[in-house]
Assembly symmetry: C2
């Protein structure tokens, strides 16, 4: 990428087909550049009025919100709006619960779909909560074991005829390395195993193409690149071909075929409905839907293209020294191998991220040495990337990060 | 109860020590009386400003909300505020997830705490989702079976040396019959079994006295009597004596002893923290906390006393014919045997509830014949009970419920 001046970035922004979209998000504190799309995405400007509407329904409708408003249909409605971003069909995604809870559902479904098999295969460097969820399931379900691959080990040889499923982070949370969903799904299917993807660090940033890859099950969170609000609802995907065979381990009335018949025995709802458990998180869904309605206005392919370009740009600026001395790109160079953020590397680690925050650029740190810049094609401009790199350059050239107050900075 | 006139109700209201509290809730549509505290409680007036504050944090802090605001501590902070209402200690309750998910956690904990035992005992008439949750667990965990007691069957004889736990609704969702937590806990403990209570239809309305009853585990929802907002977060209680021995089946990073160390192996957090799984529902917690801060201003015993009196009053008015012809009290007469609502019975069923809604009184219906009036000591006045009974009397005397438009009314 040949971008040598800030003016060049301005020209790219002027030609950006998504340039109008950023006006639909709250800008945050003036002068601050937020590169934490990998953690908490920006707020859709309509979020407060969506909440206000919901608050009004709560006041006036009260319990009739369940029957007279659209509260109960939220999980499916939001799932259908989210599906195109994942490369899934509208009836293959529901919005509900949290990523970890949804991963438990997916793992338990895989266990049930592959009777007689015992191994869940994952990577030791997967985002830890995904490992904890699998460990919790293995503690409950006799015979299920978790096989962890050391970092860098090839995955395909670890898949055997005893493998229930691969449970993988689509994107590594430290390096942004992106797995090849299509290739790993094919490899797993060749041994009769399933694959469960945690898309949290990819969805809304890069293409997942779940259906094109013949993917089985996937989960992810709504509050990172998708801008669904801090701690907002998560989602779960299952390929349509699997739906009928899944009898949920987390069974609840909202996933029942006839929830208001109040029958004693559980019967799964048709399709993805069976993955629902309890009363939907109405307020949180209203906020997430504000974001999904922005997503509905953009072409996902344009989003992914721009996201790739923003990541390439940050890498090029660091290579060129705009980001200052001692810093290098730690995430994959090829955009198609990279997830939602760009990881940089500098010996100062968390202290650099802390000093950079005081310089008005919000990034995040993960041990041992990952300075993460979460990029959003919806609200970042090319000049924002330039400015972030330039401010990083100042922090590193002036060595402000060496100040004692930054040395206690921790990852959170 | 000897209340013969509306004026008498006014006098009771004037002497009510809780009379100022109702001003802290949104009144809803003028002229409408909401008796759906058993479904969606009233909105605390401060809920919108709490949301506004949170929205502001989202905009400006973004990911730093996790470190610089109080987002992460929500589950414990809200749990501590809720605990006195349950008769629990502050460190025995956390607010998180949904009632069904929390019940799964509690059932799985019981299974783990009682190795070698196989039976979960419940009642066929328990709120169905609680049965579905147990069925889901039994499908996943070999050897666990669900034993259901037919309606009216004595519970104590069903507890044997193979019983893991009783899983019971504290309050029956149709009749409002309240179980005796203390007696059933004692009976279960005598056989080495645990008891898991779903408090949803009792907490915030009547005394649960969990610690005084030596209770083991309990769950419940935040959005009924507790006024935590539609679909808002639920809670889970575990007696302190059990904490250290519980290794959660739903394990996640927020329940890890050191979530930000990102270690590969799960280690439970101390105490109730281990029941947390994923990132807290920040927006929903802000709303629930608005309600809990109202609860903190009242004496729970005064709440329970007034709640009993309101229920007694509604029964007395129905007995006296104020509620019109053909209606009778279906819930227990003795307040200490009754949960959060009063169930009436009329042959018109759901049609009566629908016609009553058009007369400005919101109640709810559950098959086969329960007309439920959810009572709140925080925002209902004695005159509201009078007016509700009087309007019911008009609907029944005028037989407006027989109009064709009401005959299609369903329970939801």
């Amino acid at each position: 990428m040949d971008v040598t001046t800030r003016q060049h970035c301005e020209a790219l922004d002027a030609a950006d087909p998504l340039r109008e979209i950023r006006a639909r998000f709250a800008p945050g504190v003036p002068g601050t550049l937020y590169f934490d799309a990998n953690s908490v995405g920006a707020m859709p400007l309509t979020a407060p009025q969506r909440l206000q509407h919901l608050i009004g329904e709560w006041q006036s409708l009260r319990r009739r919100g369940w029957s007279e408003s659209d509260w109960l249909a939220g999980p499916q409605r939001l799932g259908a709006k989210l599906a195109p971003l994942l490369g899934a069909a509208a009836d293959e995604v529901v919005v509900c619960d949290t990523t970890s809870i949804n991963l438990f559902k997916a793992l338990a479904a895989a266990v049930q779909l592959r009777p007689g098999r015992h191994r869940i295969v994952s990577e030791a460097a997967t985002f830890p909560t995904d490992l904890y969820v699998a460990q919790g399931l293995a503690g409950l379900r006799e015979g299920v074991t978790l096989h962890l691959l050391e970092e860098g080990a090839a995955i395909e040889p670890a898949i055997d005829d005893d493998t229930i499923a691969l449970s993988l982070s689509f994107v590594d949370y430290r390096s942004a390395r992106r797995h090849d969903i299509r290739a790993l799904t094919r490899a797993a299917h060749a041994r009769g195993a399933l694959v469960i993807w945690d898309l949290s660090h990819g969805a809304g940033a890069v293409a997942c193409d779940l259906d094109a890859a013949d993917a089985d099950l996937a989960v992810g969170c709504g509050y990172k690149y998708l801008c669904g609000g801090p701690g907002g609802p998560a989602y779960i995907f299952a390929a349509r071909r699997l739906h009928d065979a899944i009898r949920p381990a987390l069974a609840g009335w909202m996933g029942h075929a006839a929830p208001f018949k109040f029958t004693t025995g559980y019967e799964p709802a048709p399709g993805m409905g069976r993955f629902l458990v309890a009363t939907p998180a109405v307020l949180a869904n209203a906020v997430f839907e504000a974001a999904l309605d922005i997503w509905a206005a953009v072409d996902p392919r344009a989003v992914f293209r721009k996201h790739d370009a923003l990541g390439d740009l940050l890498g090029a600026l660091v290579d060129r020294g705009v980001g200052g001395p001692g810093v290098s790109v730690a995430s994959p160079r090829a955009a198609e191998r990279r997830g939602g953020f760009v990881a940089l590397k500098h010996a100062g680690g968390a202290a650099v991220v802390a000093a950079l925050a005081d310089a008005g650029v919000i990034a995040s740190f993960r041990a041992p040495d990952s300075l993460r810049f979460g990029l959003s094609a919806l609200y970042h401009r090319h000049v924002d990337i330039w400015d972030a790199a330039a401010r990083l350059g100042e922090v590193l050239r002036n060595e402000t990060w060496r100040a004692p107050k930054y040395q206690q900075a921790k990852a959170i």
